[in-house]
Symmetry: C2
Subunit: 251 residues, 2 copies
Protein backbone atom coordinates (compact mmCIF):
# COMPACT_ATOMS: atom_id res chain seq x y z
CA UNK A 1 0.00 0.00 0.00
CA UNK A 2 1.40 3.38 -1.00
CA UNK A 3 0.15 6.67 0.42
CA UNK A 4 0.80 9.95 -1.35
CA UNK A 5 0.19 13.29 0.33
CA UNK A 6 -1.22 15.09 -2.71
CA UNK A 7 -2.15 18.11 -0.60
CA UNK A 8 -1.36 19.08 3.00
CA UNK A 9 -2.72 22.62 3.34
CA UNK A 10 -5.84 24.14 4.84
CA UNK A 11 -8.54 25.99 2.87
CA UNK A 12 -6.32 29.06 2.40
CA UNK A 13 -3.41 26.94 1.10
CA UNK A 14 0.25 28.00 1.26
CA UNK A 15 1.00 30.55 -0.07
CA UNK A 16 -2.22 32.20 1.05
CA UNK A 17 -3.43 34.82 -1.45
CA UNK A 18 -2.20 38.30 -0.55
CA UNK A 19 -0.19 37.17 2.51
CA UNK A 20 3.40 38.24 3.09
CA UNK A 21 4.24 36.11 6.12
CA UNK A 22 7.55 34.26 5.98
CA UNK A 23 5.89 30.92 5.19
CA UNK A 24 3.97 32.37 2.24
CA UNK A 25 7.04 34.20 0.93
CA UNK A 26 9.05 30.96 1.16
CA UNK A 27 6.36 28.97 -0.66
CA UNK A 28 6.30 31.49 -3.52
CA UNK A 29 10.04 31.08 -3.95
CA UNK A 30 10.34 27.31 -3.36
CA UNK A 31 7.52 25.18 -4.70
CA UNK A 32 8.44 22.30 -2.33
CA UNK A 33 6.95 24.43 0.47
CA UNK A 34 3.60 24.99 -1.24
CA UNK A 35 0.56 23.33 0.30
CA UNK A 36 -2.49 22.45 -1.79
CA UNK A 37 -5.84 21.55 -0.17
CA UNK A 38 -5.58 18.52 2.12
CA UNK A 39 -6.00 15.24 0.22
CA UNK A 40 -4.28 11.91 -0.36
CA UNK A 41 -3.94 9.00 -2.74
CA UNK A 42 -3.78 5.31 -1.93
CA UNK A 43 -2.26 2.93 -4.46
CA UNK A 44 -2.89 -0.76 -3.91
CA UNK A 45 -2.69 -3.60 -6.46
CA UNK A 46 -2.50 -1.04 -9.28
CA UNK A 47 -5.70 0.73 -8.21
CA UNK A 48 -5.82 4.41 -7.31
CA UNK A 49 -8.14 5.50 -4.50
CA UNK A 50 -8.40 9.20 -3.73
CA UNK A 51 -9.03 10.61 -0.27
CA UNK A 52 -10.77 13.94 -0.79
CA UNK A 53 -10.89 15.97 -3.97
CA UNK A 54 -10.05 19.59 -3.25
CA UNK A 55 -7.13 19.98 -5.65
CA UNK A 56 -7.99 22.33 -8.47
CA UNK A 57 -6.12 20.15 -11.02
CA UNK A 58 -8.01 16.99 -10.11
CA UNK A 59 -9.17 16.25 -13.66
CA UNK A 60 -5.60 16.46 -15.01
CA UNK A 61 -4.44 14.05 -12.27
CA UNK A 62 -7.28 11.65 -13.03
CA UNK A 63 -6.41 11.68 -16.75
CA UNK A 64 -3.04 10.13 -15.86
CA UNK A 65 -4.84 7.38 -13.93
CA UNK A 66 -8.57 7.06 -13.53
CA UNK A 67 -9.39 6.50 -9.83
CA UNK A 68 -11.16 3.28 -8.85
CA UNK A 69 -12.98 5.23 -6.14
CA UNK A 70 -13.01 8.53 -4.26
CA UNK A 71 -13.40 8.67 -0.46
CA UNK A 72 -14.66 12.00 0.86
CA UNK A 73 -14.15 13.02 4.47
CA UNK A 74 -16.76 15.80 4.18
CA UNK A 75 -18.31 18.33 1.83
CA UNK A 76 -16.47 21.56 2.68
CA UNK A 77 -15.33 23.18 -0.56
CA UNK A 78 -11.60 22.70 0.03
CA UNK A 79 -12.19 18.93 0.15
CA UNK A 80 -14.50 18.55 -2.87
CA UNK A 81 -14.02 21.57 -5.19
CA UNK A 82 -12.10 19.53 -7.80
CA UNK A 83 -15.27 17.47 -8.36
CA UNK A 84 -17.14 20.54 -9.63
CA UNK A 85 -15.19 20.17 -12.87
CA UNK A 86 -14.27 16.45 -12.91
CA UNK A 87 -17.97 15.45 -12.94
CA UNK A 88 -18.46 16.77 -16.47
CA UNK A 89 -16.03 14.23 -17.92
CA UNK A 90 -16.66 11.20 -20.12
CA UNK A 91 -16.37 7.44 -19.66
CA UNK A 92 -17.29 5.06 -16.85
CA UNK A 93 -18.69 6.54 -13.68
CA UNK A 94 -16.44 6.92 -10.63
CA UNK A 95 -17.90 5.72 -7.30
CA UNK A 96 -17.73 8.36 -4.56
CA UNK A 97 -18.09 7.43 -0.88
CA UNK A 98 -18.53 9.81 2.02
CA UNK A 99 -20.61 10.75 5.03
CA UNK A 100 -24.36 11.22 4.86
CA UNK A 101 -24.79 14.92 4.09
CA UNK A 102 -27.91 15.75 2.08
CA UNK A 103 -26.65 19.30 1.48
CA UNK A 104 -23.35 18.20 -0.09
CA UNK A 105 -21.54 21.11 -1.76
CA UNK A 106 -23.07 23.41 -4.38
CA UNK A 107 -25.08 21.31 -6.90
CA UNK A 108 -22.83 18.19 -6.82
CA UNK A 109 -25.62 15.85 -5.71
CA UNK A 110 -28.17 17.40 -8.07
CA UNK A 111 -25.86 17.27 -11.09
CA UNK A 112 -23.37 14.45 -10.42
CA UNK A 113 -22.32 13.86 -14.05
CA UNK A 114 -19.94 10.87 -14.10
CA UNK A 115 -19.69 10.78 -10.29
CA UNK A 116 -21.63 7.92 -8.73
CA UNK A 117 -22.37 9.16 -5.20
CA UNK A 118 -22.99 6.16 -2.97
CA UNK A 119 -25.33 6.20 0.04
CA UNK A 120 -23.76 7.86 3.10
CA UNK A 121 -21.35 5.53 4.90
CA UNK A 122 -22.27 4.21 8.33
CA UNK A 123 -19.68 4.75 11.10
CA UNK A 124 -17.59 1.68 11.91
CA UNK A 125 -19.24 -0.40 9.14
CA UNK A 126 -16.34 -1.47 6.89
CA UNK A 127 -16.38 -1.04 3.12
CA UNK A 128 -14.25 -3.27 0.88
CA UNK A 129 -12.52 -1.64 -2.11
CA UNK A 130 -10.56 -4.46 -3.74
CA UNK A 131 -8.11 -5.58 -1.06
CA UNK A 132 -8.46 -2.34 0.88
CA UNK A 133 -10.73 -2.45 3.91
CA UNK A 134 -12.07 1.00 4.74
CA UNK A 135 -13.70 1.63 8.11
CA UNK A 136 -15.45 5.02 8.46
CA UNK A 137 -14.70 6.82 11.75
CA UNK A 138 -16.79 9.77 13.04
CA UNK A 139 -14.80 12.97 13.57
CA UNK A 140 -15.59 16.31 15.28
CA UNK A 141 -16.12 19.05 12.70
CA UNK A 142 -18.61 21.72 11.62
CA UNK A 143 -20.11 19.48 8.92
CA UNK A 144 -20.76 15.69 8.98
CA UNK A 145 -17.23 14.29 8.70
CA UNK A 146 -15.63 10.85 8.58
CA UNK A 147 -12.04 9.73 9.02
CA UNK A 148 -10.96 6.39 7.59
CA UNK A 149 -9.18 3.36 9.01
CA UNK A 150 -7.46 1.78 5.98
CA UNK A 151 -6.07 -1.76 5.98
CA UNK A 152 -4.59 -3.93 3.22
CA UNK A 153 -4.70 -6.94 5.56
CA UNK A 154 -1.18 -6.29 6.86
CA UNK A 155 -0.69 -2.54 7.24
CA UNK A 156 -3.05 -0.23 9.05
CA UNK A 157 -3.33 3.51 8.41
CA UNK A 158 -5.76 5.99 10.00
CA UNK A 159 -6.68 9.23 8.16
CA UNK A 160 -8.15 11.65 10.71
CA UNK A 161 -8.96 14.97 9.08
CA UNK A 162 -10.78 17.40 9.48
CA UNK A 163 -11.29 17.16 13.22
CA UNK A 164 -10.92 18.87 16.55
CA UNK A 165 -10.17 16.19 19.14
CA UNK A 166 -11.71 12.79 18.52
CA UNK A 167 -15.12 11.38 19.47
CA UNK A 168 -14.77 8.81 22.27
CA UNK A 169 -15.99 5.93 20.09
CA UNK A 170 -13.41 6.73 17.40
CA UNK A 171 -10.57 6.93 19.90
CA UNK A 172 -11.66 3.63 21.49
CA UNK A 173 -11.74 1.98 18.05
CA UNK A 174 -8.25 3.25 17.20
CA UNK A 175 -6.75 2.29 20.56
CA UNK A 176 -7.87 -1.27 19.94
CA UNK A 177 -7.13 -1.27 16.18
CA UNK A 178 -3.51 -0.11 16.73
CA UNK A 179 -2.72 1.65 13.43
CA UNK A 180 0.88 1.62 12.19
CA UNK A 181 0.43 5.10 10.77
CA UNK A 182 -1.78 8.05 11.65
CA UNK A 183 -2.44 11.14 9.50
CA UNK A 184 -4.10 13.82 11.59
CA UNK A 185 -5.44 17.37 11.39
CA UNK A 186 -3.02 19.87 12.96
CA UNK A 187 -4.16 23.08 11.31
CA UNK A 188 -3.22 25.62 13.97
CA UNK A 189 -0.15 26.60 15.98
CA UNK A 190 -0.51 26.17 19.75
CA UNK A 191 -1.04 29.92 20.15
CA UNK A 192 -4.47 29.25 18.69
CA UNK A 193 -6.26 28.40 21.93
CA UNK A 194 -9.39 26.21 22.10
CA UNK A 195 -10.01 25.92 18.34
CA UNK A 196 -13.53 24.95 17.32
CA UNK A 197 -13.07 22.92 14.13
CA UNK A 198 -9.43 21.83 13.81
CA UNK A 199 -6.67 20.65 16.14
CA UNK A 200 -3.72 22.76 17.06
CA UNK A 201 -0.38 20.90 17.17
CA UNK A 202 -0.52 20.15 20.91
CA UNK A 203 -3.97 18.58 20.57
CA UNK A 204 -2.84 16.45 17.62
CA UNK A 205 0.27 15.29 19.53
CA UNK A 206 -1.82 14.32 22.58
CA UNK A 207 -4.03 12.13 20.38
CA UNK A 208 -0.97 10.54 18.75
CA UNK A 209 0.51 9.89 22.19
CA UNK A 210 -2.65 8.08 23.24
CA UNK A 211 -3.02 5.99 20.04
CA UNK A 212 0.71 5.18 19.85
CA UNK A 213 1.24 4.56 16.13
CA UNK A 214 4.78 3.85 14.87
CA UNK A 215 4.62 6.94 12.65
CA UNK A 216 2.36 9.97 12.38
CA UNK A 217 2.00 12.89 10.01
CA UNK A 218 0.44 16.27 10.75
CA UNK A 219 -1.62 17.66 7.89
CA UNK A 220 -4.20 20.36 6.91
CA UNK A 221 -1.45 22.80 7.81
CA UNK A 222 -2.12 26.54 7.75
CA UNK A 223 0.42 29.16 6.71
CA UNK A 224 0.30 30.36 10.33
CA UNK A 225 1.60 26.96 11.48
CA UNK A 226 4.37 26.92 8.87
CA UNK A 227 5.33 30.46 9.95
CA UNK A 228 5.33 29.34 13.59
CA UNK A 229 7.72 26.44 12.82
CA UNK A 230 9.94 28.84 10.85
CA UNK A 231 10.03 31.34 13.72
CA UNK A 232 10.58 28.88 16.57
CA UNK A 233 12.57 26.02 14.96
CA UNK A 234 10.24 23.76 16.92
CA UNK A 235 10.90 20.02 16.76
CA UNK A 236 8.38 17.20 16.89
CA UNK A 237 8.51 13.92 18.85
CA UNK A 238 10.28 10.97 17.22
CA UNK A 239 8.15 9.34 14.53
CA UNK A 240 6.02 12.46 14.01
CA UNK A 241 6.52 14.86 11.11
CA UNK A 242 4.81 17.59 9.13
CA UNK A 243 3.40 16.07 5.96
CA UNK A 244 4.65 17.61 2.70
CA UNK A 245 2.89 17.89 -0.66
CA UNK A 246 3.95 15.17 -3.08
CA UNK A 247 5.70 12.90 -0.58
CA UNK A 248 5.09 9.15 -0.81
CA UNK A 249 4.95 6.69 2.08
CA UNK A 250 5.34 2.97 1.44
CA UNK A 251 3.79 0.59 3.95
CA UNK B 1 -10.13 49.52 -22.56
CA UNK B 2 -8.52 46.11 -22.99
CA UNK B 3 -10.47 42.85 -22.89
CA UNK B 4 -8.76 39.55 -22.24
CA UNK B 5 -10.49 36.23 -22.81
CA UNK B 6 -9.07 34.43 -19.79
CA UNK B 7 -11.36 31.45 -20.37
CA UNK B 8 -13.65 30.49 -23.27
CA UNK B 9 -14.83 26.98 -22.38
CA UNK B 10 -18.00 25.51 -20.93
CA UNK B 11 -18.24 23.70 -17.58
CA UNK B 12 -16.51 20.59 -18.98
CA UNK B 13 -13.62 22.64 -20.41
CA UNK B 14 -11.43 21.51 -23.32
CA UNK B 15 -9.96 18.94 -23.03
CA UNK B 16 -12.91 17.37 -21.24
CA UNK B 17 -11.78 14.74 -18.70
CA UNK B 18 -11.77 11.25 -20.22
CA UNK B 19 -12.84 12.38 -23.70
CA UNK B 20 -11.01 11.25 -26.84
CA UNK B 21 -12.80 13.40 -29.43
CA UNK B 22 -10.53 15.19 -31.91
CA UNK B 23 -10.93 18.55 -30.16
CA UNK B 24 -9.90 17.10 -26.79
CA UNK B 25 -6.96 15.21 -28.32
CA UNK B 26 -5.80 18.42 -30.03
CA UNK B 27 -6.09 20.44 -26.81
CA UNK B 28 -3.95 17.89 -24.92
CA UNK B 29 -1.22 18.25 -27.56
CA UNK B 30 -1.44 22.01 -28.19
CA UNK B 31 -2.15 24.18 -25.18
CA UNK B 32 -3.36 27.06 -27.41
CA UNK B 33 -6.50 24.98 -28.02
CA UNK B 34 -7.32 24.46 -24.34
CA UNK B 35 -10.41 26.19 -23.00
CA UNK B 36 -10.72 27.09 -19.31
CA UNK B 37 -14.09 28.08 -17.77
CA UNK B 38 -15.64 31.12 -19.45
CA UNK B 39 -14.38 34.39 -17.94
CA UNK B 40 -12.78 37.68 -18.94
CA UNK B 41 -10.66 40.57 -17.71
CA UNK B 42 -11.13 44.27 -18.37
CA UNK B 43 -8.16 46.61 -17.97
CA UNK B 44 -8.93 50.31 -17.85
CA UNK B 45 -6.77 53.12 -16.41
CA UNK B 46 -4.53 50.52 -14.75
CA UNK B 47 -7.42 48.82 -12.93
CA UNK B 48 -8.26 45.16 -13.39
CA UNK B 49 -11.91 44.13 -13.36
CA UNK B 50 -12.74 40.43 -13.62
CA UNK B 51 -15.83 39.08 -15.34
CA UNK B 52 -16.60 35.76 -13.63
CA UNK B 53 -14.26 33.71 -11.50
CA UNK B 54 -14.35 30.07 -12.59
CA UNK B 55 -10.65 29.62 -13.30
CA UNK B 56 -9.05 27.28 -10.82
CA UNK B 57 -5.86 29.39 -10.68
CA UNK B 58 -7.70 32.59 -9.82
CA UNK B 59 -5.68 33.31 -6.67
CA UNK B 60 -2.38 33.03 -8.58
CA UNK B 61 -3.71 35.45 -11.22
CA UNK B 62 -4.89 37.89 -8.57
CA UNK B 63 -1.47 37.82 -6.87
CA UNK B 64 0.02 39.33 -10.06
CA UNK B 65 -2.58 42.12 -9.92
CA UNK B 66 -5.25 42.49 -7.29
CA UNK B 67 -8.61 43.11 -9.01
CA UNK B 68 -10.44 46.35 -8.29
CA UNK B 69 -13.73 44.46 -8.60
CA UNK B 70 -15.25 41.17 -9.74
CA UNK B 71 -18.43 41.07 -11.84
CA UNK B 72 -20.32 37.78 -11.69
CA UNK B 73 -22.80 36.79 -14.37
CA UNK B 74 -24.29 34.06 -12.16
CA UNK B 75 -23.49 31.52 -9.44
CA UNK B 76 -23.03 28.27 -11.37
CA UNK B 77 -19.83 26.60 -10.18
CA UNK B 78 -17.90 27.03 -13.44
CA UNK B 79 -18.32 30.81 -13.08
CA UNK B 80 -17.43 31.19 -9.39
CA UNK B 81 -15.40 28.15 -8.26
CA UNK B 82 -12.13 30.13 -8.10
CA UNK B 83 -13.67 32.24 -5.32
CA UNK B 84 -13.94 29.19 -3.05
CA UNK B 85 -10.18 29.51 -2.49
CA UNK B 86 -9.51 33.22 -3.20
CA UNK B 87 -11.82 34.27 -0.35
CA UNK B 88 -9.42 32.93 2.30
CA UNK B 89 -6.70 35.43 1.31
CA UNK B 90 -5.37 38.45 3.16
CA UNK B 91 -5.46 42.21 2.63
CA UNK B 92 -8.18 44.62 1.53
CA UNK B 93 -11.55 43.19 0.61
CA UNK B 94 -12.48 42.81 -3.06
CA UNK B 95 -15.95 44.03 -4.07
CA UNK B 96 -18.02 41.42 -5.90
CA UNK B 97 -21.06 42.40 -7.96
CA UNK B 98 -23.62 40.06 -9.46
CA UNK B 99 -27.29 39.18 -9.75
CA UNK B 100 -29.55 38.77 -6.75
CA UNK B 101 -29.30 35.07 -5.91
CA UNK B 102 -29.74 34.29 -2.21
CA UNK B 103 -28.55 30.72 -2.77
CA UNK B 104 -25.21 31.74 -4.32
CA UNK B 105 -22.83 28.78 -4.64
CA UNK B 106 -21.80 26.49 -1.77
CA UNK B 107 -21.10 28.60 1.35
CA UNK B 108 -19.69 31.67 -0.45
CA UNK B 109 -22.27 34.08 0.97
CA UNK B 110 -22.10 32.54 4.47
CA UNK B 111 -18.29 32.61 4.60
CA UNK B 112 -17.19 35.40 2.22
CA UNK B 113 -13.70 35.92 3.70
CA UNK B 114 -12.08 38.89 1.88
CA UNK B 115 -14.86 39.00 -0.73
CA UNK B 116 -17.25 41.90 -0.26
CA UNK B 117 -20.47 40.71 -1.91
CA UNK B 118 -22.53 43.75 -2.87
CA UNK B 119 -26.36 43.76 -2.98
CA UNK B 120 -27.75 42.11 -6.12
CA UNK B 121 -27.56 44.42 -9.14
CA UNK B 122 -30.78 45.78 -10.62
CA UNK B 123 -31.28 45.21 -14.35
CA UNK B 124 -30.53 48.25 -16.53
CA UNK B 125 -29.40 50.34 -13.52
CA UNK B 126 -25.79 51.33 -14.32
CA UNK B 127 -22.92 50.87 -11.90
CA UNK B 128 -19.79 53.04 -12.15
CA UNK B 129 -16.40 51.36 -11.57
CA UNK B 130 -13.87 54.14 -12.07
CA UNK B 131 -14.35 55.26 -15.67
CA UNK B 132 -16.13 52.01 -16.62
CA UNK B 133 -19.90 52.19 -16.79
CA UNK B 134 -21.47 48.77 -16.26
CA UNK B 135 -25.11 48.19 -17.12
CA UNK B 136 -26.56 44.84 -15.97
CA UNK B 137 -28.66 43.06 -18.60
CA UNK B 138 -31.02 40.16 -17.79
CA UNK B 139 -30.23 36.92 -19.64
CA UNK B 140 -32.11 33.61 -20.09
CA UNK B 141 -30.51 30.86 -18.03
CA UNK B 142 -31.29 28.22 -15.41
CA UNK B 143 -30.13 30.47 -12.54
CA UNK B 144 -30.52 34.26 -12.11
CA UNK B 145 -28.04 35.60 -14.68
CA UNK B 146 -26.87 39.01 -15.86
CA UNK B 147 -24.92 40.07 -18.91
CA UNK B 148 -23.06 43.39 -18.86
CA UNK B 149 -22.96 46.41 -21.17
CA UNK B 150 -19.51 47.91 -20.59
CA UNK B 151 -18.56 51.43 -21.69
CA UNK B 152 -15.45 53.57 -21.11
CA UNK B 153 -17.28 56.60 -22.54
CA UNK B 154 -16.05 55.89 -26.07
CA UNK B 155 -16.11 52.14 -26.67
CA UNK B 156 -19.05 49.87 -25.96
CA UNK B 157 -18.80 46.13 -25.31
CA UNK B 158 -21.61 43.71 -24.42
CA UNK B 159 -20.83 40.47 -22.51
CA UNK B 160 -23.77 38.09 -22.97
CA UNK B 161 -23.08 34.78 -21.29
CA UNK B 162 -24.58 32.39 -20.11
CA UNK B 163 -27.80 32.67 -22.10
CA UNK B 164 -30.17 30.98 -24.50
CA UNK B 165 -31.65 33.66 -26.74
CA UNK B 166 -32.09 37.09 -25.18
CA UNK B 167 -34.96 38.56 -23.16
CA UNK B 168 -36.87 41.16 -25.23
CA UNK B 169 -35.88 44.04 -22.92
CA UNK B 170 -32.19 43.17 -23.19
CA UNK B 171 -32.32 42.95 -26.97
CA UNK B 172 -34.18 46.29 -27.17
CA UNK B 173 -31.54 47.90 -24.96
CA UNK B 174 -28.71 46.55 -27.09
CA UNK B 175 -30.32 47.52 -30.40
CA UNK B 176 -30.50 51.09 -29.17
CA UNK B 177 -27.11 51.05 -27.33
CA UNK B 178 -25.27 49.85 -30.48
CA UNK B 179 -22.26 48.03 -28.99
CA UNK B 180 -19.01 47.99 -30.98
CA UNK B 181 -18.25 44.50 -29.70
CA UNK B 182 -20.39 41.59 -28.51
CA UNK B 183 -19.21 38.51 -26.62
CA UNK B 184 -21.92 35.85 -26.65
CA UNK B 185 -22.68 32.34 -25.45
CA UNK B 186 -22.40 29.81 -28.30
CA UNK B 187 -21.91 26.59 -26.35
CA UNK B 188 -23.40 24.08 -28.74
CA UNK B 189 -23.03 23.04 -32.39
CA UNK B 190 -26.15 23.53 -34.49
CA UNK B 191 -26.88 19.80 -34.32
CA UNK B 192 -27.90 20.51 -30.74
CA UNK B 193 -31.53 21.41 -31.43
CA UNK B 194 -33.61 23.65 -29.13
CA UNK B 195 -31.09 23.93 -26.28
CA UNK B 196 -32.53 24.95 -22.92
CA UNK B 197 -29.75 26.95 -21.25
CA UNK B 198 -27.17 27.96 -23.88
CA UNK B 199 -27.19 29.12 -27.50
CA UNK B 200 -26.06 26.97 -30.36
CA UNK B 201 -24.01 28.78 -33.01
CA UNK B 202 -26.95 29.55 -35.29
CA UNK B 203 -28.85 31.17 -32.41
CA UNK B 204 -25.83 33.27 -31.43
CA UNK B 205 -25.30 34.39 -35.05
CA UNK B 206 -28.96 35.42 -35.37
CA UNK B 207 -28.63 37.63 -32.29
CA UNK B 208 -25.39 39.15 -33.62
CA UNK B 209 -27.09 39.81 -36.96
CA UNK B 210 -29.90 41.69 -35.21
CA UNK B 211 -27.62 43.75 -32.91
CA UNK B 212 -25.10 44.50 -35.67
CA UNK B 213 -21.86 45.08 -33.73
CA UNK B 214 -18.63 45.71 -35.68
CA UNK B 215 -17.08 42.62 -34.12
CA UNK B 216 -18.36 39.62 -32.18
CA UNK B 217 -16.80 36.68 -30.36
CA UNK B 218 -18.43 33.33 -29.61
CA UNK B 219 -17.56 31.95 -26.18
CA UNK B 220 -18.49 29.29 -23.54
CA UNK B 221 -17.48 26.81 -26.21
CA UNK B 222 -17.92 23.08 -25.64
CA UNK B 223 -15.56 20.39 -26.90
CA UNK B 224 -18.44 19.24 -29.12
CA UNK B 225 -18.45 22.62 -30.86
CA UNK B 226 -14.67 22.59 -31.34
CA UNK B 227 -14.97 19.06 -32.75
CA UNK B 228 -17.75 20.21 -35.07
CA UNK B 229 -15.58 23.05 -36.44
CA UNK B 230 -12.69 20.60 -36.90
CA UNK B 231 -14.87 18.13 -38.78
CA UNK B 232 -16.67 20.60 -41.03
CA UNK B 233 -14.10 23.42 -41.57
CA UNK B 234 -17.06 25.73 -41.02
CA UNK B 235 -16.47 29.46 -41.46
CA UNK B 236 -18.14 32.33 -39.62
CA UNK B 237 -19.51 35.61 -41.00
CA UNK B 238 -17.07 38.52 -41.35
CA UNK B 239 -16.33 40.16 -38.00
CA UNK B 240 -17.33 37.08 -36.02
CA UNK B 241 -14.82 34.64 -34.54
CA UNK B 242 -14.43 31.92 -31.95
CA UNK B 243 -12.85 33.46 -28.84
CA UNK B 244 -9.58 31.85 -27.72
CA UNK B 245 -8.11 31.59 -24.23
CA UNK B 246 -5.50 34.27 -23.53
CA UNK B 247 -6.29 36.51 -26.49
CA UNK B 248 -6.43 40.28 -25.90
CA UNK B 249 -8.70 42.78 -27.66
CA UNK B 250 -7.88 46.47 -27.58
CA UNK B 251 -10.75 48.91 -27.98
Amino acid sequence: MKLRFSGTGDSGQVPCFGCDCLACQRARLLSCHRREPCCGEIELDGDLILIDAGRMDLAARCERQRPAAILLTHYHADHVQGLLHLRWGRGESIPVYGPKDPQGCADLHKNPGILDFQPGLKPFRPLQLGRLEVTPLPLNHSKPTLGYALSDGVNRLAWLCDTVGLPGATESFLTEWRPHGVVIDATHPDSYIAPRNHNNVAMALEIIERIQPSRAWLTHISHELDADFLATSRTLPEGVELAADGSDILF
